[in-house]
C-alpha cells in the first residue's frame, strides 16, 4: 500500500496501547487534540507533541508513523509560511504555534488509528449508539481499501500492457489519459458493490433492528486510568494560568 495510507493501516501488535478499550483510546486522542487547540503556549504544544510521540513509541509504531509525518511535512511548511506572512504582531511565534499544533493533532489521531482495528472502532461506535448500517459502512470502507488498491494496480498494468502511455502529452492530455483507467475501475467497483450487497443479504443483514455482538467492549482498570489522564490533559491548557506560570 502506498505510504500516505499507512496511517490507517492497522498492524496487529501486543502493546499497552493495543490492549486498551477503543473508547479510552479515543478519549485520549480527543483530549490531546482539544488541549492542543485550546492552548496558546508554545511550551504546552511541545509537551503535547512529545506526549503523543511518546505514546506512539510505547505502541511500537514509530516506523509506521514516519511516512505519515513525511507526507504532511509540506502541508505543515505551507501552514507555517502562510501564518508567517499573514499574521500581524508576532508572526514567528504564531506560525510556529500553528505548525506545532498541526503536528500534534495529526499525531494524536494517527496514534488512535494505528492501534485500533477497524472492527474495534465500529464496535465502539455501536456501543455509543451508532446504528450498524453506519458502523458497517465504516468497517467495510477500510476493509476494501487494499482490495481497491489491488484493482488499481491490475488495471494500470493491463492498460500499460496495451501500449498505452499514461504520462503522454501535456497536463490536460495526461488528465484525460486517466479516464482510460477510471472507466474499467468504476464499472468493476460498481459490480463489486452489488456482489457485496448480495453477500450481506445472504448473511441475514438487517434481520433485526438490534443486532447482538459476539464481542462486547469492557473497560478495565488501565482504561479508567487513561480516562482520568485524558481528563487531566483536557484541562491542562488552564494549568499555566492557575499555577501563575509565565511561559510562552
Amino acid at each position: 500500500m502506498s505510504s500516505p495510507l499507512q496511517a490507517f493501516k492497522y498492524v496487529p501488535k501486543d502493546t499497552f496501547m493495543d490492549r486498551l478499550d477503543p473508547r479510552s483510546k479515543f478519549a485520549l486522542s480527543l483530549s490531546l487534540l482539544a488541549a492542543s487547540l485550546a492552548s496558546p503556549q508554545l511550551t504546552m504544544q511541545l509537551v503535547y507533541l512529545a506526549l503523543a510521540t511518546l505514546l506512539i513509541a510505547a505502541a511500537k509504531r514509530l516506523a509506521q508513523w514516519t511516512p505519515t509525518l513525511k507526507a504532511i511535512s509540506p502541508l505543515v511548511a505551507a501552514i507555517f509560511a502562510a501564518n508567517l506572512i499573514f499574521t500581524p504582531g508576532m508572526p514567528l511565534t504564531y506560525a510556529t504555534l500553528m505548525a506545532l499544533r498541526f503536528f500534534t493533532v495529526t499525531t494524536s489521531f494517527t496514534l488512535f488509528f494505528l492501534t485500533t482495528t477497524p472492527d474495534d472502532l465500529s464496535l465502539a461506535l455501536e456501543e455509543m449508539g451508532v446504528p450498524r448500517e453506519y458502523t458497517l459502512m465504516f468497517t467495510m470502507s477500510l476493509r476494501f481499501v487494499p482490495t481497491l488498491a489491488d484493482d488499481v494496480e491490475t488495471v494500470t498494468a493491463a492498460l500499460l500492457s496495451r501500449g498505452f502511455q499514461l504520462d503522454r502529452g501535456n497536463i490536460i492530455q495526461r488528465a484525460k489519459n486517466y479516464v482510460y483507467l477510471l472507466v474499467p475501475l468504476i464499472i468493476y467497483e460498481v459490480r463489486r458493490s452489488l456482489m457485496i450487497a448480495e453477500a450481506l443479504e445472504a448473511r441475514a443483514f438487517g434481520a433485526t433492528k438490534k443486532p447482538t455482538r459476539l464481542y462486547t467492549l469492557k473497560m478495565k482498570k488501565p482504561d479508567y486510568l487513561v480516562l482520568i489522564a485524558s481528563a487531566l490533559i483536557a484541562v491542562s491548557p488552564l494549568a499555566p494560568a492557575i499555577l501563575n506560570l509565565s511561559i510562552i
Partner: protein, 278 residues
C-alpha cells in the same frame, strides 16, 4: 552460439512495496517458438513473474531479458509491443466504448497505420466470433465473450510473445473449446507462448514444457509426461494430475498399462482389452 532465448530470467527476486517477497530467485529461459505452461497454487508467484515479462514490474534483484533486451532499461510501451499479456479478469482490461475500438486500441497506441488497424481488427474479430458485436459496448458481452475479446485485442497487434494468465478460469466447456482452438492457432503461428494455469486437463495437450512454481520458486521444469506422472511433485504445487494420468498411474502399478508418453484413451482401452482376452 546458442540461439537467443525469447525470455531469459536470471536470479529474479521481487519484493512488493509492502515488503512481501513474491519471487525468491527465479531462473527461466523460454526459447523462441516454445509453448510453456507455468503452473502452481494460488500465491506461488506465477502472476508476479509474468508481469516482469513486459516490464510492468521491474526486478528487485536479478534481471529479465526479452530478446536480449533488459526490461529495466526499456519502457513498458516498447516491451509490450513484443510481449502481449492477456490478464486473467477481462473486466480489468476493457478500456473502450465499442468491441471494435477495444481491438483497435493497442494497435493505435503502437502507431499502426490506419488501414492496417482496420484490416487486422476486422480479421481478429471474425476469428474470435465477435464481429457481429463490433458496435456494442464490451460490457454487454458475456464473460466468455469478454475473455475472447481481450485475447483478440492482444493477438491483433501481433506480439512475438504471448502470455495468457488463467485463460480457462471460470470458463464453461464451450468457451474452453473456443480457447482450445486459439491455442492450436498459436501453435501453427509458431508464437512463443506462456500460459499460466491450474488447468492440467486443458493445458497438457498443447505445451512443450511445464514449469511448476511453489512459494516464489521454480520447483520443476520438464516435459508434460514427466511432470504429470509424478503426483507428489504436482501436489506440492497444489495440482492434481489429469484423469487419464491418474488412471494410468494406478494401472501401471498393477502392470496393466505403462504409458511411454502422455497417456491416451485409445491406448488404455487397448491395453485393458488385450489383458482381458488373454
Amino acid at each position: 552460439m546458442e540461439s537467443e532465448a525469447a525470455i531469459q530470467v536470471e536470479n529474479l527476486r521481487y519484493v512488493y512495496p509492502g515488503g512481501y517477497e513474491a519471487l525468491k530467485g527465479v531462473n527461466l529461459a523460454v526459447k523462441k517458438g516454445e509453448f510453456i505452461a507455468i503452473m502452481g497454487e494460488n500465491g506461488s508467484g506465477k502472476t508476479t513473474l509474468i508481469k516482469h515479462f513486459n516490464g510492468v514490474l521491474k526486478p528487485t534483484e536479478g534481471r529479465v531479458l526479452i530478446d536480449g533486451v533488459d526490461t529495466r532499461e526499456t519502457p513498458v510501451s516498447k516491451l509490450s509491443r513484443k510481449v502481449g499479456i492477456v490478464f486473467q479478469n477481462p473486466d480489468h482490461q476493457l478500456f473502450s466504448e465499442t468491441v471494435w475500438d477495444e481491438v483497435a486500441f493497442p494497435m493505435k497506441n503502437f502507431g499502426f497505420p490506419e488501414q492496417v488497424v482496420k484490416e487486422r481488427t476486422e480479421r481478429f474479430l471474425k476469428l474470435m466470433g465477435l464481429y457481429s458485436y463490433r458496435d456494442k459496448s464490451p460490457y454487454l458481452l458475456s464473460l466468455g465473450e469478454r475473455k475472447r475479446l481481450t485475447i483478440a485485442a492482444v493477438l491483433a497487434y501481433d506480439p512475438e510473445i504471448i502470455v495468457l494468465d488463467e485463460p480457462t478460469a471460470g470458463q464453461d466447456y464451450i468457451q474452453k473449446e473456443h480457447i482450445s482452438g486459439t491455442m492450436n492457432l498459436l501453435r501453427t503461428m509458431q508464437k512463443t507462448v506462456v500460459i499460466v494455469t491450474h488447468d492440467m486437463e486443458f493445458v497438457v495437450q498443447y505445451v512443450d514444457r511445464i514449469v511448476l512454481m511453489s512459494r516464489g520458486r521454480i520447483v520443476a521444469s520438464a516435459s508434460p509426461h514427466e511432470v504429470l506422472l509424478n503426483p507428489s511433485l504436482l501436489a506440492s504445487a497444489g495440482l492434481m494430475p489429469p484423469q487419464l494420468a491418474r488412471l494410468a498411474l494406478q494401472l501401471s502399478r498393477a502392470g496393466i498399462y505403462t504409458p511411454r508418453r502422455l497417456p491416451e484413451t485409445g491406448e488404455i482401452v487397448d491395453a485393458v482389452l488385450k489383458r482381458w482376452h488373454r
